[in-house]
Symmetry: C2
Subunit: 95 residues, 2 copies
């Protein structure tokens, strides 16, 4: 069963639930900032393990203590529950 | 002693030495492609350890099996021997 796109209402509910995220170029988007490179890359490593287990991977950019993330589901052409789940997991791992 | 900027001739010699790299927006730049996310992130993890040890960190972007890298030395305002060393190390680790 293909993962289904979230409706506009569902995306809005997700943004209400996850206030640190917004939409950028049709993707779920957040900037993270950490103390230094070690903590930033430690976060990325935790996310990488979760992403690999879920079979759903982020698009992300890092320099030093900053990590910028864009989530969407290529096969569905937009934002799906897979992205919502990964965003929640990233918020959890960043705490 | 501050790290010194490479001269134009030194940058050209570096690009001759490292043919997979080019210059993008004044930074040393390369696209890497791997088999899958696991190998791409494994590479990033190896680079992260080397970067942390050297005290010099990359700017990079990843999605699935692709890793794009830009190297420059912020404190020097351009490309230095630190960037050359990290580029060489990344080439070695990607092999």
């Amino acid at each position: 069963m293909p993962t289904e796109l979230l409706s506009d209402d569902e995306v809005q509910a997700l943004l209400d639930e996850l206030p640190d995220w917004d939409i950028e170029n049709g993707k779920l988007h957040r900037n993270f900032q950490f103390e230094d490179f070690q903590t930033a890359f430690g976060f990325m490593t935790s996310v990488a393990l979760a992403a690999e287990a879920a079979g759903h991977h982020p698009e992300w950019w890092n320099t030093y203590n900053k990590v910028e993330v864009w989530l969407s589901t290529h096969s569905a052409g937009g934002i799906t529950t897979k992205d919502a789940d990964l965003a929640r997991e990233m918020d959890r791992l960043a705490r």
